[in-house]
């Protein structure tokens, strides 16, 4: 909660996105269909209104002196009108569903695009299970609402109006009584309508937490089982489950208030309407057939009112969903959109100019990067050293502009990263990291990262270069081989190779290698070396290393300490300088590897 509050504070609001704004924006393109649906409903409602009138004529005719043929004709008309009503309603429902899906798919896509655009501060505070609930669950409740609500509520309202008009025409007292009943319902229902929204929000929140909890634990199944944490995890689950239990039941009860009050009102309505009818029949100003018609209209009234109130529950759900969709849409990335400048082609120069940085969820007193200044010529290879937590990874995050510096400038190819076109910048900087992201889908999609513009020939050329051709041929369906979610049917090494090929295909001007070979055994690592040489040729590279051997082939070394540049210079020169941190590190590593006494002094310096 604290994390998301911080996020909200940080991200400015951008206007309100209420239900109406969203409806207008996404339904407008489909006015034609919506209009057609409205017409269908209009005709269907007219026919529906006719049915009780037919019944009244039938009864009065039967009790009176109408000929049998007349009665038969009325009965047949009744049949036709009733059948047509149904047919038209069905067509209208289908059209409404089509309109609803088209509209909400557009919303889904916009929402996904918008959310992907939000900064990492936002994403780090949320589980992917939670994102599924937000991007899909919430929109789906809106989709149900759009496809069903429009027909049931719009059609129902039409019917309601029609019934009232018909009754006014029949008998003013009758009309007045029923109008009063309907008005009463409208007033009471619009009061109770909002009752469920906060509770429904709580219910959704609790459910999102439940499924987020489950998903995380399923990801960590081995860790939990191997450490005997089953009982404890279930204890935690019980806590989460308890919240779902209480919040959901509360939400249900509050939501049912709407429905139950409508039912109670209907009871009052029946008493008033039928009472009036009995009175009017006794006075002789209403025929038995007309009384029966009133009864039928009353029954018919029950349906739209039940539908409307039921859909009002949906409206509450959709309202709560839309509220959160709106919240999501109104978040503005803490990271400004960037300019339009394009980075030059070829290898990129890198320049950090007085860059300080702290993560958004901590204060400026906790700098992760503190006045970092350095320059790399195009085509240079830099080895980035430093203890875990010294700011190496953060430094590279600024290169991708996942964050902006708190102060100072980052320039790539001479262009200020903040002024560059964001997409363009990121496509020119490649990342090979320890964690390889693989998707459920074909190998081709995983290699091209969903870019359908990449031809198979190019993919094959890159695989050749990486010496992966033979491996590919062993796969069942070549490039169409299905990769499991998270790449679980691949070894860490295979996954790493795919990540390499992916960067190859993207052809960037700057490559960040975040200790990519850490999970590779030395033999595989060597196999990659030649390919890596080819990948790095003509490109600038920054290599983050946890092991010194990783940076044996770099041109320059930069050592980070507590977010500051402790040392930066040519690797050769630093290696020769006995007092340089790099040289001391090398000695320490050597002695460690040989299991001799480590150079305590050097290690203390580093610690």
């Amino acid at each position: 909660m604290t994390a998301s509050t911080a996020t909200t504070e940080r991200e400015r609001r951008r206007g309100a996105f209420g239900l109406s704004t969203i409806l207008v924006r996404y339904l407008a393109p489909q006015r034609g269909w919506a209009l057609g649906m409205a017409l269908l409903l209009l005709v269907a409602t007219g026919l529906q209104l006719l049915v009780p009138q037919l019944l009244r004529r039938f009864i009065d005719g039967a009790l009176g002196a109408a000929p049998g043929a007349e009665l038969t004709r009325i009965a047949l008309t009744f049949l036709v009108a009733a059948l047509l009503t149904q047919l038209l309603n069905a067509v209208a429902t289908y059209v409404a569903a089509a309109v609803g899906w088209t509209a909400t798919n557009l919303l889904r896509e916009d929402l996904a695009a918008h959310t992907l655009d939000l900064d990492m501060g936002f994403h780090n505070a949320r589980t992917s299970g939670e994102m599924i609930e937000r991007l899909d669950g919430d929109v789906t409740s809106l989709s149900n609402f759009l496809s069903v609500f429009s027909v049931r509520v719009f059609g129902g309202a039409l019917l309601l109006a029609g019934i009232l008009v018909a009754l006014w025409l029949e008998n003013r007292l009758m009309g007045a009584v029923l109008t009063g009943v309907v008005l009463l319902e409208v007033v009471v229902l619009s009061r109770t309508r909002r009752a469920g929204v906060p509770a429904t929000n709580l219910e959704r929140e609790a459910n999102a937490k439940l499924f987020g909890f489950i998903e995380e634990r399923l990801h960590g199944l081995d860790d939990l089982r191997g450490n005997g944490a089953g009982a404890y995890t279930m204890h935690r689950f019980d806590g989460v489950m308890r919240n779902v239990y209480h919040d959901t039941r509360r939400a249900w009860m509050l939501r049912s208030v709407v429905w139950l009050s409508s039912y109670g009102l209907m009871l009052v309505g029946t008493a008033l309407t039928i009472g009036t009818a009995i009175y009017l029949v006794g006075k002789g100003s209403l025929t038995v057939g007309a009384a029966y018609m009133v009864f039928q209209y009353l029954l018919m009234l029950q349906n739209p009112i039940e539908q409307i109130t039921q859909q009002l529950q949906e409206l509450q759900k959709a309202g709560a969903g839309v509220q959160r969709v709106g919240e999501l849409l109104s978040l503005v990335p803490a990271l400004p959109r960037g300019g339009s400048e394009r980075l030059p082609a070829g290898a990129l120069s890198v320049e950090f100019d007085g860059v300080s940085f702290h993560y958004p969820d901590v204060g400026p007193d906790q700098l992760t990067l503190d006045d970092v200044t350095f320059k790399l010529a195009p085509g240079t290879r830099l080895g980035l050293l430093g203890r875990t937590g010294s700011g190496k990874t953060t430094l590279t995050r600024l290169l991708f502009r996942l964050y902006d510096p708190s102060s100072g400038r980052v320039r790539l190819g001479g262009v200020d990263a903040a002024a560059a076109d964001l997409q363009g910048l990121r496509s020119r900087v490649g990342l090979v990291s320890q964690e390889v992201q693989l998707f459920r889908g074909s190998l081709r999609h995983n290699l091209s990262f969903f870019d359908d513009g990449v031809s198979d020939d190019r993919i094959m050329a890159v695989l050749d270069e990486l010496d992966m051709r033979e491996w590919l041929e062993r796969q069942e369906n070549g490039l169409d081989t299905e990769i499991d979610s998270g790449g679980r049917n691949l070894s860490a090494g295979e996954a790493q190779l795919i990540a390499f090929a992916r960067v190859f295909l993207a052809d960037p001007g700057l490559i960040v290698l975040d200790e990519p070979s850490s999970r590779l055994d030395p033999a595989t690592e060597r196999r990659l070396e030649a390919a890596m040489e080819r990948l790095l040729a003509g490109r600038t590279a920054i290599v983050i290393a946890h092991r010194l051997e990783t940076v044996e082939r770099v041109d320059e070394i930069l050592v980070m300490e507590g977010g500051r540049v402790a040392e930066h210079g040519s690797r050769d020169l630093l290696a020769r300088d006995q007092h340089s941190r790099y040289a001391r590190l090398r000695r320490a590593a050597l002695s460690l590897d040989l299991n001799a006494t480590p150079d305590e002094h050097a290690l203390e310096e580093l610690a």
Binding site: S128, E215, G389, F449
Partner: protein, 597 residues
């Protein structure tokens, strides 16, 4: 695949979850669904009174009062019914989810999800709901059945011919809808699958959002998402179309039945053998009767649907029958939760572990180990090494029971271990996986995992895992929220936090899968030094780092899933050019090159 997934049988087993409460709910809803019979009779009396001479018997007002009081009672009962149903339904669906998770976490044997975790979450959500809905049908069933019998009986007494003829279209409904149902089911399944593809993709995209963003791939990812959504829309619309067709059939048949009554009733009304009140009763009952019929039809659909749901849940259980998750359990959800009590199990001191002829493969069949034998004695440091894909991780996972073993035996202190999965847990052993996961919670909760140790002990473990300096720089210390799957920590910090988590298990045998991959040389040295200084520890470690290999009492070199060599580092180096080659690649600062400078 065929499982014993007869929903009825499974439901009976599940229904033992607070059966009396369920019975109470069913009774309440039986009253709610049954009372309209009385309401219909009241309306009949009312209209007959209106049409006839008003002198004799109870007049229209009395009937009105009767009808209204019936409805008022119904309203009150309904409020109770909603409350008891909500309570029971929630307990049931949560119980299903709990049993499933508990099974995956705690049952014996190896557990591996057949699909992605996101896909599995969809099952936890939708399939448990489907089963819950099936119970809803059983809850409503009795009332609807009672109404059906009473309404039909009354109508038959009034006019058998008309009742029978009106029932023909209703019976037709049953036939037509049963023809439609399989199509609806298929359409629904397709639609469900398309939905799971969409949610799966969302889960993966946002699970790796940093990679997507850093490579500027948002447009391509979005295009793929659009494609998946389009398929989903198509399948969902087909589902809607069939469902609407279904609804049209049932609703229209009521109208046809009413039309038949009118046609037949014209003359009967004239000769007085059929009254206006009778007509009112027929017309009031007919839609409800169709409602009852389509309810019965839908109940069959839901029966099958819950069968599918059970089957899908069964797939998550892999080898166990679905009945494993339907055993009732007593809950006390109304009162606050009792604190967790960590149970410490006493086990005999570890002496030795013997693995003989172990053979296991991943589901894909590509990587695996064959006929691997080795031993670990108390206090030893044993390192498993080898190339990528040589089976190192597979070996550890099979040993610990995280993967099914095809052949071979594992014995602990000379006694055969029947179920490694439930045997290799603290205090016998603890494990850090190759890619350890943390959970959205505080650092303290993550490392403690419920073992109520003090902060002093936690601090000691964190120091041993070389996380103490990092901890000092975290403003909230142990209360730092680590974020989803630990994203707020660096890769190395997650790895070391996982190591601390393992150390806090106080286990006799520590199993590390490649702990060093995210650690720098110096951090790794401190970790091993600390571990050795802390006292007698037995370690089984996967590593290809010199730092670990040189400490090893025994090195096991795997090649293509088989043991290529085994012994001290010197022995293995002497007998295997493979390891020499592996280590040569690692020999850090190349002496020749240093000299050249």
């Amino acid at each position: 695949m065929t499982y014993s997934t007869n929903p009825l049988r499974l439901m009976l087993a599940l229904g033992r979850q607070r059966p009396w409460y369920f019975a109470l709910t069913a009774v309440l809803w039986a009253v709610v669904h049954g009372l309209p019979v009385l309401f219909g009779l009241a309306m009949r009396g009312l209209f007959d009174a209106l049409a006839g001479p008003q002198a004799a018997g109870p007049n229209a007002w009395t009937y009105l009062a009767l009808g209204l009081s019936v409805d008022a009672v119904r309203l009150v009962v309904m409020i109770g019914g909603i409350y008891t149903w909500a309570t029971w339904w929630l307990e049931l669906t949560l119980h299903l989810r709990r049993s499933l998770l508990s099974y995956l976490l705690e049952a014996s044997g190896s557990r591996r999800l057949p699909d992605s975790p996101s896909e599995a979450v969809t099952r936890f959500r939708d399939d448990a709901n489907d089963i819950g809905e099936y119970f809803e049908y059983w809850c409503d069933f009795w009332g609807f059945a009672a109404f059906g019998v009473a309404a039909l009986g009354t109508m038959l007494l009034i006019n058998p011919l008309m009742t029978l003829l009106a029932c023909v279209p209703l019976a037709l409904t049953v036939v037509l809808t049963s023809l439609l149902r399989p199509h609806i089911r298929t359409a629904r399944r397709r639609s469900r699958e398309a939905t799971s593809r969409v949610t799966d993709f969302l889960g993966e995209t946002f699970g790796s959002v940093q990679a997507v963003k850093a490579s500027g791939r948002e447009p391509f990812v979005l295009r793929h998402y659009v494609g998946l959504n389009t398929v989903r829309k198509r399948t969902a619309l087909k589902d809607t179309l069939l469902t609407e067709l279904f609804r049209s059939v049932t609703d229209n048949m009521v109208n046809i039945a009413t039309g038949i009554i009118l046609l037949l009733g014209a003359s009967a009304l004239k000769d007085g053998s059929f009254t206006v009140g009778d007509l009112a009763l027929f017309v009031t009952f007919l839609p409800r009767l169709t409602g009852v019929m389509s309810f019965m039809g839908l109940m069959v659909v839901q029966h099958k649907r819950s069968g599918v749901a059970f089957e899908r849940l069964g797939r998550l259980l892999v080898d166990a029958p679905v009945s494993a998750i339907v055993t009732p359990r007593a809950y006390d959800l109304e009162n606050p939760q009792a604190p967790f009590e960590h149970a410490v199990k006493e086990v005999e001191p570890f002496e030795r572990l013997d693995v003989v002829g172990l053979t296991a493969h991943h589901a894909g069949g590509l990587t695996g180990v064959t006929d691997v034998s080795f031993s670990v004695a108390r206090g030893e440091f044993v390192v498993v090494t080898g190339r990528i894909g040589s089976g190192k991780t597979t070996l550890l996972r099979a040993l610990l029971g995280l993967l099914p073993v095809e052949a071979g035996t594992v014995s602990w202190n000379g006694r055969h271990v029947d179920d490694p999965a439930s045997f290799f847990v603290p205090p016998r052993s603890a494990y850090t996986s190759q890619v350890p996961r943390l959970f959205s919670d505080t650092l303290r909760e993550n490392v403690l995992l419920g073992s109520g140790l003090s902060d002093v002990e936690v601090a000691a473990a964190l120091e041993l895992a070389v996380l103490d300096a990092d901890l000092a720089s975290m403003r909230s210390g142990l209360d730092t929220e680590v974020g989803t799957r630990g994203v707020k920590l660096s890769g190395g910090q997650v790895q070391r936090a996982a190591a601390a988590r393992m150390l806090l298990r106080r286990a006799q045998l520590l199993v590390f899968d490649d702990i060093s991959s995210a650690l720098d040389v110096e951090t790794e040295r401190r970790l091993w030094d600390g571990l050795f200084a802390a006292g007698e520890t037995t370690c089984l470690v996967v590593s290809h780092r010199r730092a670990a290999l040189e400490r090893a009492d025994r090195v096991i070199l795997l090649e293509g899933g088989r043991v290529a060599a085994q012994g001290t580092l010197a022995e293995v180096l002497a007998s295997s050019p493979e390891l020499a080659a592996l280590l040569k690649g690692e020999r850090s600062p190349d002496a020749g090159r240093v000299a050249a400078l």
